[in-house]
Amino acid sequence: MNRAWRILLFVVMAAFVVQPAVAQTPDAALAKLMEDARAEAAVPGACAAANVDRLVRAFCENRIRPGIREYYPLFGTREGDVRSGYDIDVARALAKRLGVEPAFIRVNAASRIPLLAEDRIDVIVATMGHNTQRDGQVRFIRPHYYQSESTIVGPRALSVKDWPDIAGRTICVTIGNGSNAQIVSYNARLMLFDEAGVLPGQLKDETCTLAAQDDSFFDYYFIEPDFAARFEKKFGFAQVPWGMAVARTASAERLARALDLMSQIFHRDGVFLEIARTNRVSTGFLERQQATWKRPECNTDAGSSNPACVLPALNADLEPTPFVGRVVAFEKWVKASTGIDLSLPMLKTMPAWMLFKDGIVNSLILVVGALAATLLFALVLGAVQSSRSILLRWPARAITITLQSSPVVLTLVIAAAVAHALFPYSSAVAIGAAIMALGLMNGSNAGQAIAEAMHTLRTERGSAQGRGGIPTRELFGRAVSRSATQIVSFLINAAKGTPIASFIGAPELLSALTDITSFASGRATTYSLLLVFYVVVVVIVVWLCGKLQSWLERRRVTA
């Protein structure tokens, strides 16, 4: 019996040993962590120790130093001594939960990480997006305390609901915005600005029909009744979770852990949500997060490391090209040799390299297509305008006068509008529409020159087919030879006009390089190379046209 009791006792104890540990609530884990840190802070001499733990130091000094922004409407602003905004209130709530005072220190986008590294602030609460690049610089607090997304804003009257609706449209963006690459991939055209602050003004004065920027930025402007009455958010994309962050050092790990647990609790209990409502910022993300952190599997002390509960960092790394090392070495060599700060972003990352290669190919297709279309329309319209039938001649003249009266940009836009009404938007359709427009514009003028030459030949010779004179086909050939100078002039004009095809979304080199510079540096080099490329292309076209002109003139002399 005694033995049986011993066996039973062993089995019961063994069952307790192998049973998984019962998960703690985040509240209990936080309480324990803070209690331990307070106890350490109370030990004489602990606060004066070198490299003291930062959570312990917060209790020693009875303060925490949040780095916050002062000029980011709704999130961090300052008027005199009064600070307000979502980030400010979040920092206050953290300090209150720790039982210490917040000692705010101003940061901006450029200074926030260096100030943390220099131990001049304890935690960043400053609209900082969590991406993979920053992961190596700071320790982000999980779960994230907010999430912004890029949003497309435009007039209420404009029907834009999703990506297919933006193809071929112009969208105003700021240079360097991480979401630009995504906009480009949907065949939109970008108009670049240096500062986000100008975008609402550009929308109001209708310079921009659509603009893309963080929703947190536009939230402020949507508080204005006039702005909200005229514009609306069309759709959002490129969500970026915002993270508080502490230094990536061992001494900051306990503070990070405390903030992780607090962030969990604040989501679950709706503290972040309430702060957002008070500051009138968007609450959609916070409502979804509250539901997540109320779930039993997330509402544990291990929830902040559970991939099913936390959001991943935004992957901001662009795939490098296989030859990026040689490109960087070349840039350094140029800098060392000449002092010129050369930057070749189109050769460094795969997305930029693909855009660049496609841009060059499309530009050459455009040039060849525009030359062929100009020649074809010149011959057709020249022949029709030379016809003796009024029914043929006058419509051709009307088309020529209309095309001459329309500025080049307008003709391109009309061609694109008609093409898009007939076919779904694609790069090929945009290139095709541009070739047609450039061919018609230049071909109509060259055709008019051919018709005028035909008229003078008829007047000079007083002959026509059927009356014992030169057959019309031969006479037309001579008219083409006679108008060689004009034809060549309009062929060159067509080649020079091809970059304007970017206006209707044709992905030629200008368009490609504008897209590249929207998410990479090196604008000066990029646009200098672009100018050189097009000047060389036009010089080659001029040379080839010179050969054509010589051939036509020789033909005239022979005739």
Binding site: C208, T209, T402, V413, I500, Y527
Partner: protein
């Protein structure tokens, strides 16, 4: 919407936008005249300077306006200063400057020809320079529509922002047609002016040659 497919402000705004097109063309022509005259004189002077001017004129002829515009837009810093004075050009100035290679090379070509005529003792032949410049001015007016691509509110930008709000292709085409009429009338009036000028110069030439 059964009547006009466009807003009441459209036509006044279009006219105001077209004034901007004329401003851009005027600036481009004035700068082009100054630069083109210097290039024409240098070219006629011959030597190294003449060869340099000829090469420069060739390059200016080959430079596409649209690319030059984006080049200037991106190469000149927005906070550029000279002796402490802000010199960053406005959108209108950037469009005008992008048209200068065309206008200057045109002026240089036609100016050199006019100077040759003048030196050959034909002042009236040299005066043909004036109708040619008028033609260039109207080409510049039409070309200034490129400004729409960088946010300059000129005539075409007004037309495009009106059209973008119209859902049907028919409505858009009506707005485009109005634009063509407005620009077309302006252009044809300009060319009529040029022809009048040519005829007037022709009459002067006839009188000059018949005079004792």
């Amino acid at each position: 919407m059964m009547g006009k497919p466009f807003s009441a402000e459209f036509v006044p705004e279009l006219l105001a936008g077209m004034v901007v097109n004329f401003q851009i063309a005027a600036i481009a022509l004035v700068v082009g005249l100054a630069l083109g005259a210097l290039l024409a004189l240098a070219r006629l002077g011959g030597g190294v300077l003449g060869a340099t001017a000829t090469s420069l004129i060739g390059l200016m002829r080959a430079a596409p306006t649209f690319v030059v515009m984006f080049f200037l837009l991106n190469i000149i810093p927005r906070d550029a200063t000279l002796f402490g004075i802000g010199v960053a050009p406005s959108g209108i100035m950037i469009v005008a400057l992008s048209l200068v290679p065309y206008s200057a090379s045109y002026v240089a070509d036609n100016g050199a020809e006019a100077l040759k005529q003048l030196r050959a003792g034909s002042p009236l032949g040299a005066l043909q320079f004036l109708p040619n410049i008028t033609r260039a001015f109207f080409v510049l007016v039409m070309s200034s529509s490129a400004g729409a691509a960088i946010g300059v509110t000129e005539g075409i930008a007004v037309i495009l922002r009106e059209a973008v709000l119209l859902p049907s292709l028919g409505g858009k085409l009506v707005v485009f047609a109005i634009g063509i009429i407005f620009f077309g009338v302006t252009l044809q009036a300009g060319f009529a002016l040029m022809r009048l000028l040519q005829r007037h110069l022709g009459r002067l030439a006839t009188r000059g040659s018949s005079a004792p």
